[in-house]
């Protein structure tokens, strides 16, 4: 694979974030937070989100990892750091995107430093961060 600074990473789409997957994830994580499984609890918050559960942060991050795996292969992600300026809600369509910012071969392994984010058509970037990927 030939990669250059400025290359866009092929996007990865989650067509509809699933409330049922959030419930499974909550059980696996032993996460007691009702934001992930109780729509009424979300509606009661002063955030204007309506009756939609909030996706677990690690799941949004995982969509970006899925994009990176599709691009550079399973196990290629060396580091990923994400911030969460907006929530991802059930039934959202979100698209993981990224761009190569720097390529480093000083360690003997070709590494791409990338800006990565999770985008919603109307609300913009919901998650944003950086990733180091072995090429």
């Amino acid at each position: 694979m030939s990669v250059q600074v400025g290359d866009a990473i092929p996007p990865w789409t989650m067509a509809s974030v699933s409330a049922e997957r959030m419930r499974t994830m909550a059980a696996l994580l032993r996460d007691p937070n009702p934001l992930h499984w109780d729509r009424d609890a979300v509606a009661a918050l002063p955030l204007g989100l309506g009756r939609r559960t909030i996706n677990q942060g690690p799941l949004g991050l995982a969509y970006i990892i899925n994009m990176l795996h599709s691009w550079s292969g399973a196990g290629s992600v060396r580091r990923i750091k994400m911030q969460f300026p907006q929530v991802v809600l059930d039934d959202d369509c979100v698209i993981a995107k990224g761009i190569v910012r720097h390529i480093d071969d000083s360690s003997g392994t070709l590494l791409a430093e990338c800006d990565v984010w999770l985008e919603h058509a109307k609300r913009g970037k919901l998650l944003l961060g950086s990733a180091t990927v072995a090429l």
């Binding site: 934001l35 969509y63 580091r79 990923i80």
Partner: protein, 149 residues
């Protein structure tokens, strides 16, 4: 309803708190369910989806999300905001490997946001080793909001 705010000194004193530590072995069934939740296919050769880097270190170090909320004296489960998750992978995680996991609180302090709302910023660092080699590090930074949500 106004919640009492813990003294800032109690929050700052969390730095250096160590969790018991322990082991965690990721079973095939767990990897199947986790990977399915992310909307993709199982990775090859028993490789675990990196999404495991959130809960495996937490549970394997002998703590829980509920205890992490409680240590920071969270007002409720609804009062926590994520600042960042930082996952470093030095080797792909594998099913059926028992990882040795250690964890500590590495930062804790009181801050206020641009709107003047107080919150406590607490950072947890988890490390996963296999046969003495560092395989992964997960750093979780949460904001414990105070009378905001």
């Amino acid at each position: 309803m106004s919640h009492p705010i813990p003294p800032a000194e109690q929050i700052a004193a969390l730095v250096g708190h160590r969790f018991p530590g322990g082991q965690y072995c990721i079973e095939h069934w767990e990897n199947v369910l986790l990977t399915g939740c992310t909307g993709t296919e199982l990775l090859p050769d028993g490789m675990v989806h990196p999404v495991a880097l959130f809960h495996v270190p937490i549970l394997g170090s002998g703590t829980s999300i509920a205890e992490m909320f409680a240590l920071g004296q969270a007002e409720s489960d609804l009062s926590i905001l994520i600042e960042s998750y930082d996952w470093e992978m030095f080797a792909p995680l594998q099913e059926q490997i028992c990882y040795d996991i250690s964890a500590a609180i590495t930062a804790a302090d009181r801050r206020s946001n641009d709107a003047g709302n107080l919150y406590d910023r607490i950072q947890f660092c988890f490390e996963m080793h296999s046969q003495g080699e560092l395989c992964a590090r997960s750093t979780i930074t949460w904001h414990y909001t105070r009378n905001t949500l």
